[in-house]
């Protein structure tokens, strides 16, 4: 190439082209040279990047207005300033707030640039006057409360069934939440007006959904995808259990004393002994059938009711000082023994 250039004579046609070639050549040579230099240099690993860290001059804007909380009138309507829930902002809250953990003896940091204040949810949008005015505003859509439902008892009496659902609110393209489908039904068992058998059967049907301490039956459904389906389903379950409880099946007659869920004094040996004792005392000696024992009216025996209750109580609620003492008193009364003297 250089040979070509040396022998080159200005030629009107090829000038531009040649110049171009020459330039190309020269730049290529330069770049290779540079590359060689770079390779020779030993590169240092700069982990902390100390070289790149340049102190940048922070330019502050001059035309920043003072906090607007300084300009607020003392009698302003706070609801206008903070109409909705939002993160705390020091320039719009005219309160000398402090928050944050500091060693003992120091004041907590002020409100400016305080992440602690921004983290906690604030209720600046729900001050008492605001709540009051909002209630006034939506009163026009409220109907009057039924005047006979004036107490908790009245409500429970007229609306014994309680349906519990949850609504969810979240930011996402979809407003649906799968948890919203779950429906819980609660009813007091006593309000269903069941007889003894039906009540026993109902409790056996619902199993652990019945809480004997509160007398509440709680039925929860979440198997259907929509809330209304689950509501229908819990209502169906309650209806089905209710009607099933009233049915008496043929096999239920096979229930023996072992299947009893409670101690029935009438069916047990204690009554047999009492009746026998009574008959002996009267001097009648006759053998009775089981059914005759069961249907024997103990009210003709003096103090038998107290004895019956004492025994049932002992057997149903278990042995305790109370029941034993009650039993002792009942037996003394029955046999006509004197009261136990308290020493």
């Amino acid at each position: 190439m250089s040979l070509f250039i040396r022998n080159y004579k200005p030629n009107s046609l090829a000038t531009v082209y040649n110049v171009k070639i020459w330039r190309l050549h020269s730049t290529a040579a330069e770049s290779t040279q540079k590359k060689d230099e770079n390779e020779e240099e030993f590169r240092v690993l700069d982990i902390l990047k100390k070289k790149d860290r340049i102190q940048r001059k922070v330019t502050r804007r001059a035309d920043i207005q003072p906090d607007r909380s300084d300009r607020m009138a003392p009698d302003q309507n706070w609801g206008n300033v903070w109409p909705g829930p939002k993160t705390f902002h020091p320039s719009s809250v005219p309160l000398p707030l402090r928050q944050g953990y500091v060693p003992k003896g120091q004041a907590p940091p002020g409100k400016k640039a305080n992440a602690e204040l921004m983290k906690v949810p604030n209720f600046l949008h729900l001050t008492p006057p605001v709540i009051k005015s909002q209630c006034e505003a939506i009163k026009q859509y409220c109907t009057e409360w039924p005047n006979l439902l004036n107490s908790q008892e009245a409500i429970e009496k007229h609306y014994p069934v309680e349906i519990i659902t949850s609504d969810y609110c979240h930011a996402s393209p979809s407003i649906r939440n799968p948890l919203a489908r779950i429906v819980t039904l609660r009813v007091k068992l006593s309000t269903l007006k069941l007889d003894k058998h039906a009540r026993d059967k109902f409790i056996r049907l619902v199993g652990d959904r019945y809480d004997s301490s509160t007398d509440l039956v709680t039925i929860t459904a979440d198997r259907c995808p929509a809330r209304i389906q689950n509501t229908d389903y819990v209502n169906y379950l309650l209806t089905a259990c209710f009607h099933e409880a009233w049915n008496v099946e043929e096999w239920e007659k096979d229930k023996t004393e072992d299947d009893m869920e409670y101690y029935d004094w009438n069916n047990n040996a204690s009554k047999k002994s009492l009746v026998n004792w009574h008959l002996q005392k009267k001097g009648e000696s006759k053998t009775l059938t089981d059914d005759e024992y069961k249907s024997f009216d103990v009210s003709e025996i003096q103090h038998a009711d107290g004895y019956k209750n004492a025994v049932s109580d002992w057997m149903n609620s278990g042995e305790s000082e109370e029941t034993v003492k009650k039993y002792a008193e009942a037996v003394r009364k029955l046999f006509g023994l004197p009261e136990k003297k308290v020493v």
Binding site: S91, E136, E144, P173, L238
Partner: protein
């Protein structure tokens, strides 16, 4: 992920009350809002989906300290000038536009599930529920698109002019589309004159758009697509005629519109009221001269009557629009009143647009006063709510406020008008950003001129700067009011407002402010005086700083410099310091230097001020400043220079004035060694003032300003 709002037990009781199972079904709904038997719940009060929200929103009023809610509530991000307001709002919208662009261009990203293997998404999937049409990706049409008539219908329904034109072409143009669709398309084209309208989606763009003045010029596209479609329609129905006539009339192709109208009438086709409304609005384009035009208007109305078409309120405003466009004069005003009276007889009350045109006809700047406005406001205040029906409705409030301010000059009416605008939801009638600022310009002007001072200050505090940023002319008005009211602290604040609003480089305004400050300076409290002095110092420093910036950045349009009078005002205020070490003296010094270097325009209007300052300076022990002041006076050739220099020198040397005069009469060279440099400079100045030239040029350099700290040791 979910914020779990578990409804407490009490509330579920209230909201999910079910009577016992048996009575739940078939329960009769009572008809009163009261419970029928005292137990069952009363029937619910019907409400729309947003009624509760609106009721709650109505409890929130305006907060004068806060910026509009579209801006961030942060001192760094609250815009305080008109430029920033516009820039911030449009930037936020630009972000929304970018998001919408991504949504449209990459619509597939939003309809696939993450867990679907690529290219195997079986069903179209939308993660949004409920599915909102407005947030869906918009279809994009190009030459390869396969389109159906449904696409054209979609485009027409959503007023997408360009898309519908494209689809129309792809469908095969005039031949490929059925007549019904063609008619719909024609109506769309005529309404928008084949131009894509500003999208409803971009509120800020519409708010700040500059198309505030609708020009009354023929902009109808002659031989465009609309006309082609109209030609192709066979037979031409009355709907087609209505559409094309209204389109032409709306875009001022008046003659052809009227021709087509008469053609339609000849064919026996029924035209609508709105066709006549549009024809009436452009009737002035047919004739020249007021009388001819009025006749044309009347004949069109007569024709309307012949056709048996009943007018509506828009007919009235169309008539008044035409009349108001023909200029002023008694005759037109008469006709306007006749028209209004005639329509009143028919039971048609004028609306906001009609009122606007009436104000245009009657309330000219130079003309007799007509108090139409008070009756209008009486009428509007009685109305339940103001509903916008025409685009011209938004012109009413600014024009009315303009009339209050310029024509009637009535503060009472202005306030009533403002209250009317603030009532309920009426603020939407303010129009756009431009109209809003004109409205407030008039309001603030009339307040400054006519309202009592306390009232003015109160209104200014609520409006500025969050609702309205005053323009320079209004700012001047405000400064004038504050000056008259003698509010020194507010004048000092006004300077920082000038900086914030971006008016600080307007020399005229700053000079006006300095003048006002200077005039009110006497008689203020010491504290306020200090504030005013610091404001004056700030003004000077700002001027110096902006000059430096200009030099470094080489701005093409250099800012105007403060005049010498303004600098004198600064000097006057800052020299009111009892203490020698007061920073005010530095400002005085800087200002005098600026004067001395002839960096200020003109000469001071009140040279006596400088003489007084020199006297004060020397009394307090700042001889260099005194020297600078006297030298400047002498160099400018003021008469006060002589007496001032004598007085200052006598104070400085503690001799009677006659002696000093004698001293100054001596040979100059004999003084050179004996006197302090500052005293020397004053002697210099005296001789300049006396003879018009310095005695010894070289010695005058000794009065450099660097020794301003040197004390008077004589």
């Amino acid at each position: 992920m979910y914020s779990n709002v578990v409804v407490p037990r009490h509330w579920t009781r209230l909201s999910c009350l079910c009577r016992s199972l048996t009575s739940l079904e078939g329960q009769k709904v009572p008809q009163t809002a009261k419970s029928s038997d005292g137990i069952s719940p009363p029937p619910r009060i019907r409400r729309g989906p947003t009624d509760i929200l609106q009721a709650l929103a109505a409890t929130v009023g305006t907060d004068p300290t806060a910026a509009h809610y579209k801006y961030h509530d942060d001192p760094y991000l609250i815009p305080l000038s008109n430029f920033r307001k516009r820039a911030y709002a449009l930037s936020a919208e630009a972000g929304r536009k970018a998001a919408a662009w991504i949504r449209d261009e990459h619509a597939d990203l939003f309809t696939t599930r993450e867990w679907d293997p690529p290219n195997k998404a079986k069903t179209p999937y939308f993660n949004a529920d409920p599915h909102i049409k407005a947030f869906e990706p918009k279809p994009i049409y190009n030459d390869e698109s396969k389109v159906t008539e449904a696409d054209l219908q979609y485009a027409i329904k959503n007023a997408l002019i360009e898309d519908s034109t494209k689809v129309f072409q792809l469908l095969g143009g005039v031949e490929g589309v059925n007549d019904e669709l063609k008619l719909q398309f024609l109506q769309l084209l005529c309404f928008y004159n084949e131009k894509e309208p500003d999208s409803m989606e971009w509120l800020e763009e519409r708010w700040f758009a500059a198309n505030t003045r609708d020009r009354q010029a023929t902009t109808w596209r002659v031989g465009g697509l609309a006309e082609k479609i109209f030609q192709s329609l066979e037979p031409k129905t009355s709907e087609a005629y209505c559409a094309i006539i209204q389109g032409m009339a709306k875009y001022y192709q008046a003659e052809r519109a009227h021709m087509l109208a008469s053609e339609a009438i000849e064919k026996g086709l029924q035209l609508s009221t709105s066709v006549y409304n549009s024809l009436l609005a452009c009737v002035g384009f047919l004739r020249e001269g007021t009388q001819m035009r009025i006749e044309a208007l009347k004949s069109t109305l007569a024709q309307m009557n012949e056709q048996g078409i009943s007018p509506n309120s828009e007919t009235l405003s169309a008539c008044l629009k035409s009349i108001s466009a023909w200029g002023g004069g008694k005759a037109l005003q008469q006709v306007a009143l006749q028209v209004v009276a005639e329509f009143r007889k028919l039971g048609i009350e004028p609306g906001l647009a009609a009122y606007y045109y009436l104000l245009c006809v009657f309330c000219k700047e130079r003309g007799p006063r007509y108090d139409l406005l008070s009756t209008m406001i009486n009428d509007l205040e009685k109305k339940q709510s103001l509903v916008a029906t025409e685009p011209a409705d938004t012109n009413f409030f600014i024009t009315a406020m303009g009339v209050c301010s310029d024509h009637l000059q009535n503060m009472d009416l202005a306030e009533r008008l403002h209250n009317l605008l603030m009532k309920d939801d009426n603020y939407k009638l303010v129009g756009d950003a431009y109209k809003e600022s004109i409205f407030y310009r008039h309001y603030v002007t009339v307040t400054c001129r006519l309202a009592p001072f306390e009232k003015t200050v109160e209104i200014l505090d609520t409006l500025i700067p969050n609702v309205y940023v005053p323009e320079p002319s209004v700012m001047e008005e405000i400064i004038k009011t504050l000056e008259v009211g003698g509010a020194g602290d507010r004048l000092a604040q006004a300077w920082s407002q000038l900086v914030v609003f971006g008016h600080a480089r307007r020399a005229r305004l700053v000079e006006r402010l300095l003048d006002a400050m200077c005039n009110t300076y006497q008689g203020q409290d010491e504290e306020i005086k200090a504030k005013m002095r610091s404001a004056a110092t700030d003004i000077l420093n700002f001027g110096i700083m902006s000059e430096e910036q200009e030099e470094t950045k080489e701005l093409r349009t250099p800012g105007q410099k403060l005049s010498a009078s303004a600098l004198c005002n600064i000097v006057d205020m800052c020299s009111d310091a009892k203490d020698k070490a007061d920073p005010g003296w530095q400002t005085v010094n800087a200002a005098l230097q600026k004067l001395g270097r002839e960096e200020a325009a003109g000469v001071p209007a009140k040279p006596q001020v400088l003489a007084d300052v020199a006297q004060k300076a020397v009394a307090i022990g700042q001889p260099a400043i005194a020297a600078a002041a006297v030298t400047y006076l002498a160099e400018c050739g003021f008469e006060e220079a002589m007496s001032a220099s004598v007085q200052v020198l006598s104070t400085m040397l503690n001799r009677p004035e006659s002696e000093v005069e004698a001293l100054l009469g001596q040979q100059h060279s004999s003084l050179t060694g004996a006197l302090h440099p500052s005293a020397m400079a004053i002697a210099e100045a005296y001789s300049i003032a006396k003879t018009g030239a310095p005695v010894q040029r070289e010695s005058s350099s000794s009065s450099s300003d660097s020794d301003s700290e040197s004390s008077d040791d004589e």
